[in-house]
Amino acid sequence: MARYALAIDCNRCVGCMACNGACKMVNNVPIGSFWNKVLRIGPNEPGQDEVPSHDFYFLPVQCQHCENPECVKVCPTGASHRLPDGTVQIDKGKCIGCQFCAMSCPYGVRYLNEEERVVEKCTLCEQQIAQGELPQCVTNCVGMAKWFGDLDEGIESFRGPCGETMGDFCEPFDGEHDVHTLTDVGNRPSFLYILRDHTWQGKE
């Protein structure tokens, strides 16, 4: 039993998109489809003394492996399911391709694999984390913005590419003000986003 998730240090994300290729390399994601994407949020209009603006950040988005996943709720066949490790997975053999899961995902991270005609999304590299390794987007994250761990163990224990832990390695942050999630509409996203000194955009 665990609640595996990523914690993302947005100050360290420089929008290099290494996570895109890394993901595709080990998961055979079709060209043109994405298990993860890096969005640039902002910059929005700067204040008087802030020209040019610095108030923006890069936002790596992928399946948030929610604790109360809508996609699992709406899946008729049980193809979408939550594992005891807290990750949300798709048993492609069961998927009938109804895509209700894709519609029910608040973040739009599910898509239909046109060739296999089943829905896919980030698995958090289940094949690797089950062996004690890291998701590839964490391993290859250039800025060391992405950290993998078990929410039950606390965010400080999240691991980086060379065995570092977030608590020891990353710059301090304010647990109250600096930690965010993507918009939660009851699905309780597991991923945590840390952003210091910049304006977090959007609902939580």
Binding site: V14, N20, G21, P30, F34, V38, T123, E126, Q127
Partner: protein
Amino acid sequence: MGSLNLSRRSFLKTAAATAVAANLALNAESALAETSHTAADGAGEVKRIRSCCRGCGKMECGVWVTVANGRAVKIEGDETAPHTMGSCCNKSVSSLQACYHPDRLYHPMKRTNPKGEDPGWVRISWDEALDIIVAGVQQVKDKYGGQSLFTMGGTGRIWSMSPYNGYDSWFMTPNNVVAWQVCKGPRHFASALTSEFNHSWSATVERPPVFTIWASTPEGSNYDEAGRSVVDEAMQAQTFISVDPRTTNLGKEADIHLALKGGTDTPLALAMCHVIIENDLVDWKFVKRWTNACFLVVDDKEPSGPPIPHTYNATTMVKTKLLTQADLQEDGSPWKYMVWDKASNSLKWFNASADQAKANPDYDPATDPECGIWEGEKPYKRYDGSGFEEHWSKENFPGQWGEANVREGHMQAWSPELDDFESIDPATEGAFEVTFADGTKHTAIPVWQKFAERCAEYAPEKSESITGVPAEKVTEAALVYGTRVDPRWGNGGIMYQLAVEHHGNAIMNCRAIELLTAITGNTDGPGGQRGSTKIDVTYMGSFDSLPQSPLLDNPKFHPEIMEKQLGRDTHPLFAWWTNWANANTVWEAGVTGEPYPVKGCVCQSGDFLNMGNTTMAWDTLAQLDFMFDIDLWHHPTAEMADVLLPAQHWLEVPSPRQSQGSSGALGLCVPCVEPPADTRYDPQIVEDLYERAGLPWGWDEDNPYPTMEEILDHTVRKVGPSWKELVEEFQENGWWDVKKLRPDDWGTYYRFQTGFMKKSMAEDPTPSNVIPGFNTPTMKQEIWCTIMETYHGAEDALPDYRPHPDTIDKNPELWKEYPVHCLTGRRIPVYFHSEHRQLPWCREVWPVPRVEINPDDAADWGIEQGDWVWIESPHGKIRQTADLYYGIPRGVINAEHMWWYPEMPAPEHGWRLSAVNQLVNNDIDDPHCGASVVRGYPVKVYKATPENSPFGNPCPCSDDGVEIIHDASDPRLKDWAPVYEGRDQ
């Protein structure tokens, strides 16, 4: 462990399904083994090979390549590579798609159609290809002379640097057109003028407490440092200063952002120097003893210098207004530069005689008791020849190990105490009357005073109107940079990079920034400007083009050939530098035939899109009698060749990989997969060409055409018994720390004091080449640049702001029609210049060039995000996609460089649609080094509409109206998926 079983089962399913989808023959077991990182599994089908990436040309990132059934399937960072911290970017993993790309060149080809049309390539044998090339080159030589041939080199495959001088002995041409001229070259040029060749590099891996990135985005491009190290350093440093006209991806985290107007780097750097001087933050110990700050300028002196020339590549008589002993007395030495000693109120000399050795074989600095010393001071510590096993510098210079915030696996160097003067006290200011040997009286003023006056001209409040940076911000940044966090050493160097080279004042900018680092004591200090990692290993096919035969002639031995170097007449310093012809001048010659025609060319990882005006460059290629290209791909330059030779990919070749910059690492590029079909390794190709041309190649006269194994062994002979054994050691232990391998050459700071600064990288240390100081005429870091003075006069001896002719100050009329300041060339994290546009994993996350526009400007111009916009200058117009970005000031845009579209038809592959250098004015460049003005010129910007776009389509199209790939969903991207079959044919 139910979850484990379940997940493994579901993974096997996934792996099987996806393997089929990707046309992979991987079976599920090997896929599983691959992910469990076992080195070999079962029948040994899965291996993890330690190698070094070449997805970009800028950094030596250690990687693990997983090879399953002979096929590279995974690339990850090598976590044991301390200099990169295991960084591995999208370009690196996308190498899997380059290596197996369906469009890769597999065979030599010759064209069957005239230039300008689809070349109609047909496959030929290597024999035929080599024959055609040798004949083609000879024909041009016979008809027009060797100077009509030129070489084109880029910064791509690191073993493909032969165009930098490898072909010269064959072509006998002075004309090398190399991207170096606009990328790093000007920095090397400027540091060679000021202190040491390539000491523009700063040691970010040593974690300076103040981290300054000036004009670059290494976080995404791995420009000289791995993105991971750079991001970590920016986070860790006490203060992170970003100097850039726009907010960069990492710059959003800056503690201080100096958003200067593009090209005003010199005023900004001098303004910061002024603050340093005013606040007495100068490292006097260094400045007085190791720069020429105290040397005396005599304004009305007829410039003169030592009778023996200072040599760089060519002979150069120094002509300076600096006061020498020869000015003062009939038998005075012109090597002895005078200072005013405040202790004795008299003139004293510093004897900068080491250069004599370069031109006078009888002179040995080791036996000259006065060489490199100040009058009245004790002689320097002579090297005892103890060799690399010993840390001579540590034994002989009291000091301490550097200390800083280094991450695990990295060490600092031995930091010797800087010597103080014992008896003299050279003056830095004042005016001193001196009497020349002819009895005339003159006023001598210390260089420092002149420099301080120059800096004062650009004091923050005075230069604010030039740079656009508020004075208080400049002051704040300078104080932070100059106020030592640790009193023992400076706060670190400045990572200044290529944007400072592109505004027509490259050398001035680089010198000004270097002096800022120097006066604060960061020359070769911890985290400071340390230059290229110093180890006597070179990569294959390098600038030095080892292993060249001693029997070979070279144009550099022939002044009459070098005089013909294109651009030399307008760029006097080329006579000293010699390393490149002026690109703008070559394109001009190509188009006009003046001063002489250029009619033949080799291109090896070069490109016509990178400097000067692209249209003129293309027209130059179009009129050539003969051209051959060595490449992995069909791209526009290649499509103008007569013969194409297929090169090999980094996953297929061996090469040593020492850090180009100050990262201090040595690793190896180790072949991971079999090279396909008829491809050959670049250095092999050059050797084959020399052999076919009947010229010797190898370093050994008795073995003119060594095998690749012999070449590799030769290249690494100073660090290992053989290439093979080195590979084994590398696989086992990983990267070498050059600080440990070469403790005196690299594991010691302040080598100007120990004598290891001047010693060249390739030489073994001896008492004759371990001499304190720098390789400048004065043996000092030159605030007053004597070589510059020799060629451009005393007015250029100190840095000064020189806006290019198309700036608003110089040509306001032009800006009335073209009111927008166009910046270009920011680094795109998934591309390396023009490379990787056909790799799906790169193109799908960056389908088209984006031009950053301030949203308020965009609103005024009726442009919305995602619109195609026209960018137009008097020289051309292009389209790029609007990105509304408040990180750029109003009135400025930032376009991308070197776009072409592989999906567009040959020969142009769509370069006319978006390639930004079509906007460039080919008539202007840096008067010193010739770097063309590829940033900071005026344009106008307007929305592309059906009415003003060909085919009624704002989106760029081919000649028959087919759109470029401009979205990740474009199905044509799937046509570029890897193909594994047919590699053996």
